[in-house]
């Protein structure tokens, strides 16, 4: 190649490699992923104009398991709207869509810091919590999760982390007991998708079931073909299946299991307790599937006041899993703001001593930020949607 052409090719090559690296690192995700320039040590103070405080919602608003995040966002938004209507300090709710992906969470957390957010409702999933919460901790941003149930999150010594639902140390054994005692299963297949939350709860179930586990596998949430897992479960002749994971993959797995002729009862966890599991698996396939949840059905609650009607008026749909818990998570933060606390550290101090009657439960945080364990409910797909059956402890009569 002649001189100039060679240089041009070289430049193209270098640019090309740089482009490939950039593409590989940032992947094809939404525009709100950006590198927040400021370091993570700025104490978050009330941003925006005088009398406005910014809080954020952090979770999956798009992507395969977005319904869980959307439910929580709606609950949070209702709480914020109601708070703002009262006058006084106004609260700005900012969305941070992580798509539930732990790989995107850190950058998004940095953006929240540069946006001068003082508190976060979320992160919604355990994997992204593990990735983003250290950053929030350093920046002194209060975070209250309504759904990240991995028990490990409470053991990191985080001061700014809080949770308003029972964790998997309660949910896992409940699910296992339901399978072994209520379903009286002798051979159980335990499958998960290797993510932080899923592996956590599935391993607790494996431990509790002990020798009852006849088949164990880990699927790839990005893959479509679960035939090896299905064949294994079929060959092991299981009479119950536990799936640790979220509704999109759970629905796919359930569909493939039923199509292959595996009729054993399918039990999953709170990440799968969404009616999208039914539409993914097919109504006929999903009928009779179970899911556990440390959340009750707020539409049947007697302590929720006008929440259900207010939610419907604000969001246009019925509340679903974790909407009420997110409402409670937002409410405790808003109560702190209403009491005049507008910086992260101040809100955090307020939350340490709060004793609040939320619509789902009494909100009182332990020293590690976790809430006292709540009951675990079981839901069953009946006529195409999840209906609450009751508390696991009551159903198995223990």
């Amino acid at each position: 190649m002649r001189g100039p052409l060679r240089h041009t090719t070289k430049a193209v090559a270098i640019l090309g490699v740089a482009a490939i690296l950039l593409a590989a690192c940032s992947s094809s995700k939404k525009s709100n992923v950006s590198t927040g320039g400021s370091s993570a040590t700025s104490a978050a103070s009330g941003g925006g104009s005088k009398g406005t405080v910014k809080i954020g919602f952090f979770g999956a608003l798009t992507g395969p398991n977005a319904q869980l995040g959307i439910n929580e966002y709606n609950g949070t938004k209702l709480a914020v709207d109601q708070f703002n209507k009262k006058g006084g300090t106004q609260v700005d709710l900012v969305k941070y869509d992580s798509q539930g992906d732990p790989a995107q969470a850190p950058q998004l957390a940095q953006k929240a810091i540069s946006d001068k957010v003082v508190a976060i409702v979320g992160p919604a999933f355990s994997g992204e919590s593990k990735a983003a919460d250290p950053i929030f901790e350093q920046a002194h941003i209060v975070n209250v999760t309504a759904s990240a149930t991995n028990p490990g999150l409470a053991t990191n010594g985080w001061k700014y982390w809080h949770r308003v639902v029972g964790n998997d140390n309660a949910q896992g054994p409940s699910a296992a007991d339901f399978i072994s005692k209520k379903l009286a299963a002798k051979k159980v297949a335990v499958i998960d998708d290797n993510q932080e939350y899923s592996l956590g709860i599935a391993n607790i179930v494996r431990q509790t079931l002990g020798s009852l586990v006849a088949f164990s596998d880990h699927i790839d949430p990005k893959a479509q073909d679960y035939s090896a897992t299905v064949n294994g479960a079929k060959a092991a002749n299981v009479d119950a299946i536990f799936y640790g994971g979220y509704y999109a993959e759970g629905g796919r797995l359930l569909k493939q299991l039923r199509d292959a002729g595996v009729t054993a009862p399918f039990v999953s966890d709170d990440g799968a307790e969404d009616n999208k599991l039914v539409s993914t698996a097919g109504a006929a396939n999903a009928e009779g599937a179970y899911a556990t949840c440390p959340c009750g059905d707020v539409t049947q609650s007697t302590t929720a006041g006008t929440f259900v009607q207010d939610y419907k008026a604000d969001a246009g749909t019925d509340p679903a899993i974790y909407s009420a818990e997110a409402y409670d998570a937002a409410s405790v933060i808003l109560q702190a703001i209403g009491a005049g606390k507008t910086t992260g550290p101040d809100i955090n101090t307020y939350l340490a001593t709060i004793d609040f009657k939320g619509i789902t439960k009494e909100i009182k945080f332990g020293d590690n930020g976790d809430i006292a364990a709540s009951g675990i409910y079981i839901y069953k797909v009946t006529s195409g949607s999840f209906q609450v059956q009751g508390l696991v402890s009551q159903l198995i009569g223990s």
Binding site: I20, S28, Q224, N231, D259
Partner: protein, 313 residues
């Protein structure tokens, strides 16, 4: 390590491995043809496949299919779905060539520039579909009621798996006949062997290139329709994983070799499924790609070698 699974579940694994392998093989054809003729790895081929799945889905929505069909309606719907996917993917491939590759070819740009253009086209198409149709999974209505045709050993041969496998074999044979029997096919082989001499022999290079892309695209369209039939959902990145696997299959079988694409696809499908049953599904990809590395170490041109450009008597 559960070696007993390999024996216990041999037939179910084989059936499933061949089914998924057939889809890989069809997509691999697109990679192998374009590489054979242009020495270009068409990274946007995975999006050509994805476009085919969307076309198939939209056709089903357009025909207002809500549940399983039977008899003549079933055959009709499947054929229409196939034609829609083949058409959409074929046209998309031809447009891709015209917009992303031909201007570079005209200017005698290096192969690296074309490669970068391919990556850019791939990302563009992914994001375009994501913004237009959202990032959620889009479900297909169930067209074919799944039922078992017969069992081999412990392996259930279901009707949808049979359709996938047979359709792939048939399309492969058709393509092979086309490339080896027709004038345009001869032109493709000639261009693959030596583009300059082919021009001297009167081959219209532009037409050959368009035909290559069109054929590869149509094969991806067949794969897309079969993917929709087997897995019943799609999304903007539906092409990503199958695309990588198919490219691996093409390399495994011998890039530039049509029969290699078939062999590579089926072998990869089988390896994946056997690996998953022995090691657990999370090791599936590690196992398959490790085998690829080993094969390439001892046979860099792949199992069947680069045959498209080799002269055959």
């Amino acid at each position: 390590m559960h070696f007993h699974n390999l024996v216990d579940q041999f037939w179910p694994s084989t059936v499933d491995g061949l089914t998924v392998g057939a889809i890989y093989a069809l997509i691999a054809l697109g990679y192998t043809l374009v590489y054979g003729v242009l020495k270009l790895i068409n990274f946007a081929h995975s999006e050509i496949f994805m476009i085919g799945t969307f076309a198939s889905l939209f056709l089903l929505h357009g025909l207002d299919i809500k549940g399983p069909q039977a008899g003549a309606t079933l055959v009709g719907v499947l054929l229409l779905s196939l034609l829609a996917a083949m058409g959409a993917s074929g046209i998309a491939a031809v447009l891709l060539e015209r917009i992303a590759y031909r201007p570079l070819r005209r200017r005698g740009a290096s192969r690296l520039a074309a490669l970068i253009s391919a990556i850019g086209a791939s990302l563009f198409l992914q994001e375009f579909f994501a913004l237009r149709y959202g990032r959620d999974l889009l479900p297909f209505p169930r067209v074919l009621k799944k039922s078992t045709l017969f069992t081999i050993g412990g392996g259930q041969v279901r009707n949808d798996k049979m359709v996938v496998f047979l359709a792939a074999i048939i399309m492969m044979v058709v393509l092979d006949r086309f490339v080896n029997g027709t004038r345009l096919g001869r032109g493709i082989r000639a261009t693959a062997q030596d583009p300059e001499t082919a021009v001297l022999m009167g081959v219209n290079i532009d037409r050959v290139v368009v035909a290559t892309f069109a054929l590869g695209g149509m094969m991806a369209g067949v794969a897309a329709m079969l993917y929709g039939l087997r897995f019943e959902n799609t999304q903007y990145i539906a092409g990503f994983l199958p695309g990588i696997k198919a490219f691996t299959a093409a390399v495994l079988g011998g890039i530039g070799n049509i029969r290699g694409a078939l062999l590579g696809g089926l072998v990869l499908g089988l390896l994946e499924t056997y690996g998953a049953s022995v090691l657990g599904s999370q090791w599936k990809d590690v196992f398959a790609f490790a085998i690829l590395v080993v094969v390439l170490m001892f046979r860099p041109t792949g199992l069947l070698g680069e045959a498209l450009s080799r002269a055959r008597a």
